[in-house]
Subunit: 678 residues, 2 copies
Amino acid sequence: MTSLTAAKASQTPRVSDREMANAIRALAMDSVQRANSGHPGMPMGMADVATVLFNRFIKLDPSRPDWPDRDRFVLSAGHGSMLQYAIHFLLGYADMPVEELKRFRQLGSHTPGHPEYGHTLGVETTTGPLGQGIATAVGMALAERMLAARFGPELVDHYTYVIAGDGCLQEGISHEAIDLAGHLRLGRLIVLWDDNRISIDGPTRLSTSMNQLARFAAAGWHVQEVDGHDPEAVAAAIERARAEERPSLIACHTTIGKGAPNLEGSEKTHGAPLGEAEIAATRENIGWSHPPFEVPDEIIGAWREASARGRAAREAWEARLAASPQADAFRRAVSGEIPEEVFEALRAFRAEQSEKAPRVATRKASEMTLAVINGATELTVGGSADLTHSNLTLTNGLGVVQPGDYGGRYIHYGIREHGMAAAMNGLALHGGFVPYGGTFLCFADYARGAIRLSALMGQRVIYVLTHDSIGLGEDGPTHQPIEHLAMLRATPNLNVFRPADIIETAECWELALRSRNHPSVLVLSRQNLPTLRTASDSLPSARGAYVLREADGRRDVTLLATGSEVEIAVAAAELLKAQHGLNAAVVSMPCWELFEEQDEDYQRSVLGTAPRIAVEAAARLGWDRWIAGNGDFVGMNGFGASAPAGDLYRHFGITAEAVAERALAFAGTAGGQARNNN
Amino acid sequence: MTSLTAAKASQTPRVSDREMANAIRALAMDSVQRANSGHPGMPMGMADVATVLFNRFIKLDPSRPDWPDRDRFVLSAGHGSMLQYAIHFLLGYADMPVEELKRFRQLGSHTPGHPEYGHTLGVETTTGPLGQGIATAVGMALAERMLAARFGPELVDHYTYVIAGDGCLQEGISHEAIDLAGHLRLGRLIVLWDDNRISIDGPTRLSTSMNQLARFAAAGWHVQEVDGHDPEAVAAAIERARAEERPSLIACHTTIGKGAPNLEGSEKTHGAPLGEAEIAATRENIGWSHPPFEVPDEIIGAWREASARGRAAREAWEARLAASPQADAFRRAVSGEIPEEVFEALRAFRAEQSEKAPRVATRKASEMTLAVINGATELTVGGSADLTHSNLTLTNGLGVVQPGDYGGRYIHYGIREHGMAAAMNGLALHGGFVPYGGTFLCFADYARGAIRLSALMGQRVIYVLTHDSIGLGEDGPTHQPIEHLAMLRATPNLNVFRPADIIETAECWELALRSRNHPSVLVLSRQNLPTLRTASDSLPSARGAYVLREADGRRDVTLLATGSEVEIAVAAAELLKAQHGLNAAVVSMPCWELFEEQDEDYQRSVLGTAPRIAVEAAARLGWDRWIAGNGDFVGMNGFGASAPAGDLYRHFGITAEAVAERALAFAGTAGGQARNNN
């Protein structure tokens, strides 16, 4: 926890802070110019602040970018990516030779337009959509405190630093994030605000009169303001922030594009190259005579001292870990491996429930499953956006995370879906935890920005989205999801599970836990549903779709359904047999994404060649993939309404009778002949 | 602008404020009990505040709920809908007899679970998703100032009152809303915060430590706090707020479920019926001896005095309007009718561009179209979430709306997509304006909650969403939409336009302006596109899809595309002809929703019976509706990447060659024979 300032101060600096910062400025303006695309203004404006942060404070070892006790750095203003890439080059990250700076924003480079997690070493989270970085950092800072509560300061003792811009602080997600961070007293979170009074349209006074310092103070933060071009002032502010028990905001007064003599202070430097003439003038102005992409050895050497200090800190930490009685437990936690006991317990649970065959809502089935999971591993961390007793996400004995007391495993995220989702991304990225969190499916809308980043980053974040259709009843159309399944299914790299009963629910939870590189969404009913399945060690849900009830004889029709509508499909199949002698198979499709991954033979065996009627209490969009021009869809054609659930299913015609009628239209007279439904 | 307090004070009140408020309490608890569903806690807690607000201040005439100069009331905490329904019954709204209270939350009643615009008289906006009400109210309060700037206080002089709960203030959207309102000094906006320190999970201290008064003050608001059960204190606070030039927050300290002796102050009163025993105890406790749904005539009479005052105010206003030289102009503005000159100018513009056939991005085409529209009508009000020069939403001469100066027609919404969308809902709902606003298509994510409400309320809000695919290039996957078209197309009642060139862009703008009961999304390219169409008075885009290039002979294959990929489809068709002798038709599909409304004959004539290859630089989800089991899709299978646009199209295989190859696979060998692609 001691600062690294002492090490710096004891030397006679051969290279000034300003020279070290100018290396960032030159690399940023030259890379953007070469790419003919990018954002030079922010890296040039924040170069002085970043130089102080990285050389006097941050604890990083570029040779081990995944060292668990490293400080986390989040460039929330992700458009300023050249700031981070320039620093990574100067610090000596293995994937950031100068050639990569020359390939800024080119296909396959390590220097994409915005920092991308998993793409570039040392990038802790993907940023670019504004406000996500600061909100994700809240999750990281919380994870640090939670892991420290478990393993102590010998093993877990680091800071989370954020550079944020005006955009980050204007976005609504920042409100949710800073309220949560202030409430939980995340003192290891330090936000450096690039307070340059410029946004894309021009001066920020075009659109805001917010007193940000007062705003953060109102949220329980420690606040300071400094001249962002005065290294000693910045260093002193960071020192004070580190000593604080509250999260800290440091407003750094800067000039965007600092150093460009004709353009600095203008929004023109924000998102476009400076141009060759202004770049030449800037070289003159800042006294940087070196050609593009050349940095004198002594300046690089000065930056590498920070890397060397980080390496020493990492080695000391590794020695502490080796000597720690908690070493194995710590390694297990940060590995993120779910212990086999969890899956054994889930197998037993499914066998038991298969016997009992309860009639419960899948949200209740999820709660019962979570009790098993949370009892068998300490990795899971639950929460809800103020719908705990509706989402059923809190199981016995989890303990609640509270301000200053981080030993619990349940987080009251407040009425903050977006902040919750981003914080879960941060918890997952930090390591040591498998986060899950609940809200209503409809309010996935509010969390969209962060859900997309879970998917883009391939993080194991589990969304528990209950009240998943008109089946929620009286709350009405504002609370009844229609388009949300399509929205989530269209999102790449996201597994969307809509289980039909308690057995599928337990299977889908297992699949979500096993998905190391995907977030998962569990879409769950408010209303009770029968147990339709028996337990099976082969985990049929793992194939995404499967034949739940084969037809009694050659198939005349195949009924496709998910979740609460599988019950309706089964009833329709029985009705078709009893009243019309038609053979209907019922296919449950809890996860389209997994079904798409199956081989064609399996897909054909499930879908069959008979006409197909799909039923889901949601929008049709997407279902035609499975209907494939020979069948129809029974579902929602518009928004829902406020009424008891049973009334709504009848009103909107999502009933066994309606499904049977559509099946008859396609299979009843023509014996399964293809008919185009367009 | 004078308060109505004087009228009240001059009478000897036969009925006390408390009795008037208790009528709300009784109706709320009894209706929820009868529905066995709903939220009694908030109406009971805020009954005293609402009684003061509606009886001493609000200017409403229940017999003319759409009177333009009425005050606007927004129940942002929409779950407390029984507060509003009870008040509407007491004030005598025609659609709110006591029978409707008895049908609370039943199918087809005027008393749905949450207030729904267009469903219940006097409900100014749909609420329920938290934070939307307060953010929509900002748009209403802005519309009032803007309309007043045009027509003066004789015709436009009203307040916007909001009742908001803790949830509204925790949601991120509230930050965007209050920053914008404070900045624009919307002094006619008064928010009454139900500060009851309870949310669904329990005490708000579980999840927040925010000092809301300090927070609102930081945003430039006037702030007060009062005992929400002291009518005189509430009245004095509202008086002060009305006199303020800043927007006002009044924190009303209340007890949730006030009056229920065993449950008041507990989250148990929030979202469930009190139960018969507690209801009986409450009757006893508050001295309300009347049976359920019975309110003594003298209490109803006291409430109706407020209605009578509102009626008088409305009649006086109508007299002023009749005498005003601006009467016709005012009526035209609030009618929302787009003058025919706009469409004539657009027709001329299309003819002219048809001649010139420019190669421009559709975002640029949109700007050129907007110059025509904005020049021909004063109704349109533009804006952007800090991407003005990227979205190209600002045309010459609009003038910028500024704090205290509301004569302009362009709003710098700041980096606040959600707040912008909600404010546009408010502008549209208020009347007098047709709002449009821009951001990147990818950041529709941030505005999802409010876009959904535009659709649910059927408001003519126009979203200008540019940078609509990997075609945006170097900014990379965080900025490249993939699933967004599917998300928007799956949303009921929303028209999603993706024009292919300048002619289609101008057509789609016309269609958006003509859509009185739908919001529209214009999905526009960053990259330049050729003019593919000639102008046509029949407005082919109005049918949603049409044959852009018929095949040269009997169709072997039909190529379906939208937006920037229509150019690729046209090139593929030429390539198929030249290299393989295949006859390919090209269908442009700028608006699926309008195409779905066409009759089957038209749809069949466009889609044909040959195999179909769809091409769109986005997710496949939804396209199988049009492929219908006989064809394939060329598009994105995952997230994008950071590189120049041309490199990305090649990298992801979205090229004329790739389209031709898929076409050959389906049409080249089998002569158009059906082949199932599952």
